[in-house]
């Protein structure tokens, strides 16, 4: 009976409205003044298609199956927008956390790439996020998950230094070296930070391939899916990490995704074929303060990741956000502004600067597979990566104008 850790990411960026050069210096809010209401519209659409139906389903499952557990994290800007546009989402999340069967993770408030650019900014955004999570849910997360599961030895050290008991990331073959992805690992850090690695195949079977008619396993039925779990034993962790929007947004309702999930939890619970776990209960066993009872983390294999990895695209690296000159230059510029921005002590400027750090802005500029009209295009509010770049660059020009 393998252990299953279900983790869902909740995030919505603040997309830029249709800013043009004539707005530079004219005190326009980048995210809402144009009247596009793009952020409200998207948030409410996804609320109806995904958040509300899935949260209601999870609520029902938590109630019916006391052993069912899951984990989520929500970016600060997701929570902000939920409070504003869809408070019902917050209410549902709160009641789930209250059940005691749901764990909340830490992340950066602005879903940023700060871990790669600025230690101080990384720490501030974690703090800000912690405060908001505490205010809304009354809990302080113990486990951290970085934006898009971006991870490296250096980042692991930053996370460990922040006092987290473990973190999540992707199992990338080039660093696994044929070792089993379902075992526990530790990071290459001073105190050997415990890690849980995503099971990409079983996660993506649901998140990406579920409704893919050209997939040879289509249609995915719960029996078949659980059958694939049988090869794993009780010391294996099947870590199913995915976007929350998998349910109802990436996979629409009519694909049967909700019924699939319901049936998955039902059969797992009733047949005792799996044991649901959350990261904290797993990592807790390796905690020093409980040394007498604790398991020895020195015995765990080291996951040595010198170059950053992520859960994105087939490359599982940073190239979705940092590959072409658009991305390199805008990232350089936004983080170069750190000192100037903070020195203004102007809360609005600081807030906008942070919102501009959200990884999605750089994702929209990705030209890797633009010609194929791939997954990037699906997730982008703009017509092309060129438009994403020109808008962002106009906004950068304005941000600088505000600091003159």
């Amino acid at each position: 009976m393998p252990k299953v850790c279900l983790y869902f990411e909740l995030h919505q960026p603040y997309r830029l409205e249709d800013i043009n050069i004539f707005d530079i210096g004219n005190k326009l809010d980048y995210f809402e003044d144009r009247g596009d209401e793009i952020n409200r519209v998207v948030f409410q659409k996804v609320t109806n298609k995904s958040y509300v139906p899935m949260l209601n389903l999870l609520k029902k499952l938590v109630y019916e199956y006391p052993d069912f557990k899951f984990t989520f994290s929500a970016s600060g800007i997701f929570l902000e927008q939920a409070l504003r546009y869809s408070p019902i989402v917050i209410d549902l999340l709160k009641s789930l956390v209250k059940s005691g069967q749901v764990e909340v993770l830490a992340e950066t408030y602005h879903h940023s790439l700060a871990a790669l650019y600025s230690k101080s900014e990384f720490e501030i955004q974690i703090k800000e996020h912690e405060e908001l999570v505490k205010e809304i849910f009354g809990v302080v997360p113990k486990v951290f998950r970085n934006t898009e599961l971006i991870y490296s030895n250096d980042i692991a050290q930053l996370v460990e230094d922040q006092g987290y008991i473990g973190t999540l990331t992707e199992a990338v073959d080039r660093y696994l070296d044929n070792r089993s992805r379902t075992q526990m690992f530790v990071g290459k850090t001073k105190n050997r930070l415990p890690l849980m690695l995503k099971h990409a195949q079983l996660s993506d079977d649901v998140a990406f391939r579920f409704s893919d008619k050209s997939w040879k396993m289509y249609p995915l039925m719960v029996e078949k899916y659980l059958d694939w779990f049988r090869s794993y034993g009780e010391n294996d962790y099947i870590n199913l990490f995915m976007d929350f929007e998998t349910f109802g947004e990436h996979q629409w309702k009519d694909t049967g995704i909700f019924e699939f999930f319901l049936e998955f939890v039902k059969q797992s619970s009733e047949n005792d074929s799996t044991e649901f776990v959350t990261p904290t209960e797993v990592f807790q066993k390796y905690q020093k303060p409980f040394l007498k009872l604790s398991l020895d983390r020195d015995s765990l294999p080291v996951y040595d990741v010198p170059e950053p990895i992520s859960w994105a695209d087939v490359d599982r690296d940073l190239t979705a956000w940092r590959d072409n000159d658009f991305q390199y230059d805008t990232l350089r510029l936004i983080y170069d502004l750190e000192k100037d921005v903070l020195d203004t002590k102007n809360q609005e400027i600081i807030r906008d600067w942070r919102r501009l750090q959200t990884s999605d802005h750089f994702y929209y500029m990705c030209t890797k597979w633009f010609e194929d009209g791939d997954v990037h295009a699906y997730f982008s509010p703009y017509k092309s990566p060129y438009e994403a770049y020109t808008r962002y660059s106009i906004v950068l020009a304005d941000l600088r104008e505000r600091m003159i």
């Binding site: 050069i21 004539f22 530079i24 072409n324 390199y328 230059d329 805008t330 350089r332 060129y386 962002y392």
Partner: protein, 421 residues
Amino acid sequence: MGKSNNVFMVGWEYPPNNSGGLGVACQGLTEELANQNTKIKFSLPYNVSSPVAHMDIIGCTHPNWKNNQKINGTYGPPFFAYSQEFAETQPMGSIENFGYSFDISKLRKFPESEFEKRVNEYAKVVSQAGQAFRDDFDVIHAHDWMSFPAAEELKRKTGKPMIAHVHSTEFDRAGLNSGNQYIAGVEYAGMNSANHVIAVSYYTKNLLVHKYGVDANKISVVHNGISKLNTPPDFGNHHFAQKRPVIVFMGRLTMQKGVTYFLDLASEVLKNIPNALFVVAGSGDMYHELLFKTANANLSASVVFSGFVRDKQKNKLLDRADVFVMPSVSEPFGLVAMEAAQRHTPVIVSKNSGVGEVLTGAQMIDFWDIKKMSETIVGLVGDKQYSETVVNEQLKNVDSQTWKGSAQKVKRIYEKFFLGK
């Protein structure tokens, strides 16, 4: 007066269905010619929905042209002479059916026979229409290469004299590239058949003599005019980016217009004025390449792209600009420089341009001389008095460069060469 001042013009585009300067020039010139007692029949390769008062527009469409591009609710020419600005917002015909609705920048990639076909079809229709009016005109006046075969055909059929009016040549448009041999050939043949040639500048005349081998005595220069503004310019920095100097490029994003030099210029100026903001206004086949160059040069927060601007936005940008730069590699005229000058913006123009011959108050600099252009910008931005002196000189130039004057010159050419006056 009567018959002695009648002209059949062969056109290709006319506002609002124009892609650039050609249509604007045809409008300015014909309006003033009409004021000076010239009766004009003006053929276009499309049907206009609202006629103009000062001349008869004759829509000359070929039955093969079913899918012309729609602009502002009506149909335009079978392809746009120099621009893809409209094309970007309009659905394109597909390559398979050759929908007769491509702009030239796309067509360049297709066999030359595709231009040829369209232009020859236009020639057929125009010469038929023109023959029907043969008693109503004395001179055939054709505007640029797309119209030359039609004018030549009409000349053959009617025996009337022909003027080839050159607003732009393939040599200019090709920038530093090789250009389209078919188009250059049409230009050459047209000028050869013409009884007289009008060039929009001495720069162009020189080019016609040296690159096309046209007899200098056969060419007259008539500079374009500029229409008076209906409302006074609203110049000043209140429009946007109030706190820093704004330097503007406006034009098609092509080699011809020297837009890559504008990026090099930005890097150079920023060394002296770190807050300077550079605006690239326009669209064109180099757009994506320019964006990458901008990012690669670490200019993402200093060079911004507005896309194609027109009407109010265009005026606002020229009103706001602290310096306007036209670093063209080869520019027959360059009306936009006059428009910038009219809006009290100091102008830097490439030495390879015609407009500098009349906008003498502007700063003339080689398009490749980044250092000198940069120094001039730094000077204009830093020295209010210098800037004002330039602006005032330019305004004098603008005031004296009227379409009325241009039309008078054209009329004199009609009279001198064809009407024995």
